[in-house]
Every structure is written in structure tokens, then in C-alpha cells.
Symmetry: C2
Subunit: 206 residues, 2 copies
């Protein structure tokens, strides 16, 4: 009997998961929450074997929630079930300790397979996700990680501000703004600021 905690802010999805998991005699849902904050005390008190976690949550971010949940109950194995499939999200979740990653749209049998896999000490990545992870380890890591300052600059660029305006806003020189933008373009592989905004947007960096 695998004890499961469901964390999803959509009532429909949450109730659907609870109902269908309960149908399977090898699973029992010991708790359901709509936010990471609500899930933490449940993880402590209910001692679930597996936590099914959505990444898009109100309040605390899903990625941050993973270590917090594991800290609350170290035996728990976390399986992500979300609509997001950007590299940042996927790799962030894996690095934070998720043992499974499913995309919404996954069939019920696949969810069951993933739960069994991680409960048995293994891991389960949906094929599309597995591909991303493999690409990450095989490629020496194309620096997609922008520094805090670079993200600040990029957000202002996306807001339509000119270099001069950004300089004023951040209290730095226009020259420094140009420097940051050059770095951003290199890291993202963009030709100019417009493409940088497009790439950042589709990778969820804004």
C-alpha cells in the first residue's frame, strides 16, 4: 500500500487524481493540498511514501517546495506532475531532488508506473523529459544561467527601455548596460535584444 500526498492548486486536477488513485488498491491518498505551505504539515503528519507535486503553485514556488518537503519528511520521494516543460523547470526540479517528472496529459497508467518506480527506489522520467536531461549531461552545459543583474537588465529590455533608461534605472553607466547585454546575447545565442527577449520568454526567464 503506497501512501501518496497530492499537491496541486487546481481543484479539478487534485480531485481527479485523488479519485483515480484511490481506485487502485495498491495506492492510498493520505492527503491533498493546494499549496506548498499546506502540504508541508501534511508531509510531516501523514508520512507519505510519494508526493505528487505540481510546479505551478500559489505562494511558494514548486521547485523551492521540493527540498522543503523532503526536509519535512526525508523518506518521501517527489514526482513532478506539471504542464511546464522548459529546460529551466525540468532541470531545476531534478537538481532539487525530484525523482519523477510527468507532464500533464500523462495517462493514469503512466502516473501509476511512475509512482511505483520511485517508491521502489528508482526514478521515472517521461520520455520527452528524459531527452532534456540526457541532452543536459551530454552537452557540457551551454550557459543558459543568467546572473541576477543580467536578468534585471533583460526584464527592462523586455519592457522596452533603452540602454540609457536602463542605466538610469539601475544607477550604472550606459556602457555597463551594453556590457551586460552583450553577455546576455552570447549566453542566449541571440543576434539582438529582440531575439533575446523572444528566447528568454519561451524559456521562462522573465
Amino acid at each position: 500500500m503506497i501512501r501518496i500526498l497530492v499537491v496541486d492548486d487546481h481543484p479539478v486536477v487534485r480531485e481527479g487524481l485523488v479519485a483515480t488513485l484511490e481506485d487502485d488498491p495498491e495506492f492510498t491518498v493520505v492527503g491533498a493540498a493546494g499549496s506548498a505551505e499546506d502540504a508541508l504539515p501534511l508531509a510531516r503528519s501523514q508520512q507519505p511514501d510519494v508526493i505528487l507535486l505540481d510546479l505551478e503553485l500559489p505562494g511558494m514556488d514548486g521547485i523551492q517546495a521540493i527540498p522543503a518537503l523532503v526536509a519535512a519528511h526525508p523518506e518521501a520521494r517527489v514526482v513532478i506532475l506539471t504542464a511546464y516543460d522548459t529546460d529551466e523547470r525540468v532541470l531545476g526540479a531534478i537538481r532539487s531532488g525530484a525523482k519523477g517528472y510527468l507532464l500533464k496529459g500523462a495517462g493514469l497508467e503512466e502516473i501509476a508506473r511512475a509512482i511505483r518506480a520511485v517508491h521502489g527506489g528508482g526514478s521515472y522520467l517521461e520520455s520527452r523529459i528524459a531527452g532534456k536531461v540526457l541532452a543536459e549531461v551530454s552537452a557540457p552545459r551551454r550557459a543558459t544561467t543568467l546572473t541576477r543583474r543580467e536578468r534585471e537588465v533583460l526584464k527592462l529590455v523586455a519592457g522596452g527601455r533603452s540602454n540609457k533608461q536602463i542605466a538610469r534605472a539601475l544607477k550604472i553607466t550606459e556602457r555597463t548596460v551594453k556590457f551586460h547585454i552583450t553577455t546576455i546575447l552570447n549566453k542566449l545565442g541571440a543576434e539582438n535584444r529582440a531575439q533575446a527577449v523572444a528566447l528568454a520568454s519561451q524559456r521562462g526567464l522573465l
Copy 2:
């Protein structure tokens, strides 16, 4: 007894909706489909009173599916239940004939309310959605609709192409490209191409 057809490509959401709707004695689910193509014959054969429709579907787009479903069974009232809340999606769905619009995250009672409302000949818009619709009718129409050509140009801009490159790609003059871009900036209310890309991206125009 309100007859309902559920259309959603996520098995979890679909099953969750079916299960919880069936719990309510005033509803009966007469069919469930994962795509518009599968839903059309069901709409014809099952004659549902209300169709719960997700907008993100494989194959035929959800917005296009609305008139098709209504054509298949004119008595049906369509309620949208989706994660998208961009102006384009919302207004597109309403214009296409949707009578209700709910966001994923809506509670089960709210979904029930919406179904009863549209079945009674009324309509039901979640408050956030209602705000968008009101803004649309009150404001004399801020032209958010880009022409085909403008979208073409904007996509190339987002791809990092310069005006000269766009001109070559579209076999027009660089001057004409500038003309289109000026129009795009005005329509989107952007200061420059970078912001235009950001706005277009978050409104789902790319």
C-alpha cells in the same frame, strides 16, 4: 438532468471532471473526448446540453472547434475551461460563441454554477475574464489584431532578423519592413521591437 460532454486532452483532468460531475445528481456526462475531432461525432450522437471545452487541444484548435461543435449540435452551449487567459484567447472564444469561460483552478462549485447558468440560457464568465470582456467593449477597441503580414514580420523580428534580412526574406523593401514595424509598435503600444516581442509573446501572438 443536464447532459454534458467533456473535451480535454489531459486524461487526469478529463477523468476528474467526469467523476466529480457524475457525483452531482443534476448532471450526467454523456461523453468525453481528448480532441475536437473525437468530440464532433459525440456532439452529434449524444446531443449534450453543455460542452465543457479545453482550448489547448491536439489537432484542431479549441477556438476553431467551437463553431464546429455548435454546427454539429446547435442546441449545445459551450463552456470553456482552460489555463489560458490571454485577451486573444478569451475574446476569440467569446466571439466564436462560447457562453461560459472558466480558468483551470476553478472550484467544482463554480464549474457547476457555470453549467447551470449556460444551460438556463444565460452565460457565465469568471470574474477575471469578465473584466477583460468589459474592458474590450468599453475601450473603443485598441487594435490588438495584427494583420497576416504584420505577424509574419513580427515573427522574424522575434527570430532576431534585422530589417534588411526581413526585407530579403519577404521579398519587399527594407522601407516597407520599417512601415510594418511602425504599425506593429503602434498597435501593441510598444516603444521598440524588443518590447513588441515581449508583449506579443505574453499575448500568444507568436
